[in-house]
């Protein structure tokens, strides 16, 4: 059974080794039923690129550590449903430790 696939454009940056931030595109299949931004990131980490850094803890809105910028808007990744392509960035790009994880994460 094939499912629609979306593009997840992720902010990537390792201040220790990269001259500048860049964006990386991942193709993520949407399964039947609601998927969150966090589900997409988990798919990337589990199936495509375990090197992507982001924070995930409770998955259900308690810890609020999955706070990210999605399509320019600050949201909790676990509570945000995905319907189409998304751009995912850290909540504060000036204090990134690595990729989507910044000091205030």
């Amino acid at each position: 059974m094939s499912h629609p696939t979306i593009n997840v454009r992720c902010f990537r940056y390792d201040p220790e080794t990269d001259p500048a931030p860049r964006f990386q595109d991942y193709r993520v299949p949407l399964v039947e039923g609601e998927m969150s931004v966090q589900d997409c990131l988990n798919h990337i980490r589990e199936q495509l690129d375990p090197g992507l850094a982001y924070c995930m803890n409770c998955r259900l809105g308690f810890c609020q550590r999955c706070i990210l910028k999605v399509n320019g808007k600050v949201v909790l990744a676990c509570e945000t449903a995905v319907e189409g392509d998304i751009v995912v960035e850290p909540v504060n790009a000036s204090e990134v430790i690595r990729d989507l994880w910044c000091e205030s994460t």
Binding site: G33, D49, A53, N57, L60, G61, R65, W101
Partner: protein, 607 residues
């Protein structure tokens, strides 16, 4: 030049591993006595672990409740609360620990009230006959603890995973941790160590826990020579969301079943049959958690499950008026508890909307670890200077947890915090042994250094394959043997091949952290399987298809696992009894559940 044994070092009187319900409470109580306390947490304070996700209710007996100005029931007493806990835990609980739990339940509650924890209600919980539950919010509870920890100036290392304990002269003398943000190895010198690390739920594919719960405390305690107790006792929670992915692992449907609207919920199999009528025709869906979980799993086994391996939570059988009525019940509950659980704000309204037109797929999630590090009523492990409190410890509940875990973690956290000063008096710091430090450093660095082997994600999937197939609610000898063979092979041979397969950065390297966590989860699973295999009966939350009786004549005993040259070695031990005699006789599981949990049986279901 030789590689440094560590990147930085910190010295304290007491190291508390874990920062939440029990860690926070342990730290505050040790600091109150003037000790220099350091908390090391794998996450961020009040934003990690199990406590944040708690309901939460704090239990205390009616008389102690009245003393705190709460509307307790004066027919109740500490002794009566103890008796209920021991009986409903099927008599495996350590009675000295239960007595201390009841005593400190009240002390912990008094602390939290003094620190400003809100009280929503005081009511009957866990289907007890009497009101013993102070209802509050898990999120607020952990924030209050965080505030207290900050007020007291307690140092906290966040996003720091303690990897292994250090010992010298037969005593605990600190630990080695990995700073997850920098990748630095941190040596922590301490005169006493308190483990408050929670369960190992993440070892199971379908669980209801936060990501941190990977059995770190149990595994490091075992490696340091401490014993485990009751590792076979794993608590499942039925009616946990299986699908869609966004709602997965939420226990909201289960919570709904516990509210006034609960009796209107039906659980259906794929044929639309209300299957509980074949398992417990009197109480149906309102039967005990254990019976509902077993029934659901049998339906799945017999091919009547939902597409993702569960059953259906249904409300759409109701008439429009009925739905409105139930909605009204939920709405009242929602309005009253809006700031209690974050799921109530967004996920619950969506699920309710969904339930109007479709049935929700729910399943049995691994929820709580009843067993763990063997401690006594003072939270002492067998290793001087090493304490364990909260879910990572074992021995309190016996075979099933029948009161709140929030109470356990707070009470035991306080006990541990109070135990430290007396122990530390006269105990000096011991400089850690270089060989020990080198071995731990190598264990930490090895997965990063290896250039080939098994990627941790693949390893995790294999491990989850074993739990999905053999370590379910219903267990049996043959499956447990297969699981044990596979898990012990994975631990002995395969774990040494774990490697970081992509980015070799030391900073926030998910694969690296997972490699270390996998070793811990695997060890916990192996010990749990060993104990499950040995227990040839069914009791409380533990069910063996090949031994469906509760056998008090042979099996009213605990499984204890010790470390024999690095390998788990199991023995049986009688429960600690003070005043409540152990039962005799052999009965069917259903009879045992009915007699053991008489006070837990709910009223007949509305039809």
């Amino acid at each position: 030049m030789a590689e440094a044994l560590y990147d930085r070092d910190i010295t304290c009187d007491v190291l508390v591993v874990g920062s939440e319900g029990s860690g926070g409470q342990a730290a505050v109580n040790a600091a109150r006595a003037g000790l220099d306390v350091l908390i090391a947490s794998k996450g961020k304070m009040s934003r990690c672990g199990a406590s944040q996700m708690a309901g939460a209710d704090f239990n205390l007996d009616g008389r102690s409740a009245i003393a705190l100005g709460l509307p307790g029931d004066d027919r109740d007493s500490p002794q009566r609360f103890c008796e209920d806990l021991v009986r409903e835990g099927f008599h495996l609980g350590n009675q000295r620990m239960v007595e201390k739990y009841v005593e400190y339940a009240a002390k912990n509650t008094a602390d939290l009230l003094e620190w400003g924890m809100p009280v929503y209600r005081f009511e009957q919980v866990h289907a007890e006959e009497m009101a013993r539950g102070l209802i509050t919010s898990g999120v607020k509870w952990v924030r209050i603890l965080r505030r207290k920890v900050r007020e007291m100036g307690i140092r906290v290392l966040e996003d720091t995973m303690v990897v292994d304990l250090l010992s010298g002269e037969g005593r605990a003398c600190g630990a080695v941790a990995l700073d997850l943000k920098s990748g630095e190895i941190v040596l922590i010198r301490a005169r006493a160590v308190v483990l408050c690390t929670g369960g190992w739920q993440q070892a199971y594919h379908f669980n209801s826990a936060a990501a941190d719960l990977t059995g770190d405390g149990q595994a490091m305690a075992f490696r340091a020579g401490a014993e485990m107790i009751g590792m076979e006792m794993v608590q499942y929670i039925p009616a946990t969301m299986l699908w869609p992915p966004m709602a997965r692992k939420s226990i909201l449907p289960y919570i709904m079943m516990e509210t006034e609207a609960g009796p209107f919920v039906q659980l259906l199999n794929s044929e639309g049959e209300r299957f509980m009528q074949r398992y417990d025709p009197t109480t149906m869906e309102q039967s005990t958690k254990e019976i509902v979980a077993i029934a659901g799993e049998l339906e799945v086994e017999e091919g009547r499950g939902s597409p993702h391996g569960g059953v259906y939570f249904a409300l759409k059988h109701l008439t429009p008026e009925g739905i409105d009525f139930v909605w009204g019940k939920f709405k009242g509950f929602l309005d009253e508890n809006r700031d209690k659980r974050s799921e109530f704000r967004k996920l619950l309204p969506r699920l309710l909307e969904m339930a109007k037109t479709e049935d929700l797929e729910v399943g049995n999630a691994v929820h709580f670890m009843v067993g763990g590090i063997r401690v006594n009523e003072r939270t002492e492990t067998g290793i001087p200077g090493l304490y364990a409190a909260g879910e990572c410890s074992g021995g309190l509940w016996g075979s099933v947890r029948v009161a709140s875990a929030t109470t356990q973690v707070g009470a035991q956290g306080r006990i541990a915090g109070e135990a430290c000063p007396a122990y530390i008096n006269g105990v000096e710091h011991i400089e850690p042994d270089k060989d020990q430090l080198e071995a731990i450093r190598e264990r930490i660095r090895a997965p990063l250094r290896r250039t080939e082997g098994v990627p941790p994600i693949e390893f995790l999937e294999r491990m989850h394959g074993v739990t999905d197939e053999y370590l379910r609610v219903i267990r049996e000898g043959e499956g447990l043997e297969s699981a044990y063979d596979e898990l012990s092979w994975m631990r002995r041979d395969e774990a040494a091949r774990l490697y970081v397969s992509t980015s070799k950065t030391k900073r926030l390297n998910f694969e690296w952290q997972l490699c270390l966590e996998l070793e811990n989860m695997l060890l916990c699973l192996e010990m749990s399987t060993l104990a499950s295999l040995r227990r040839e009966e069914s009791r409380g939350g533990f069910y063996r298809r090949d031994f469906p009786h509760t056998d008090n004549d042979r099996w009213c005993v605990n499984t204890v696992i010790s470390n024999r040259d690095g390998e788990p070695s199991l023995r049986l031990e009688d429960p600690v009894v003070t005043s409540i005699p152990l039962p005799a006789g052999r009965m069917t599981f259903e009879e045992a559940v009915a007699s053991g949990t008489a006070s837990l049986k709910r009223g007949e279901v509305e039809r």
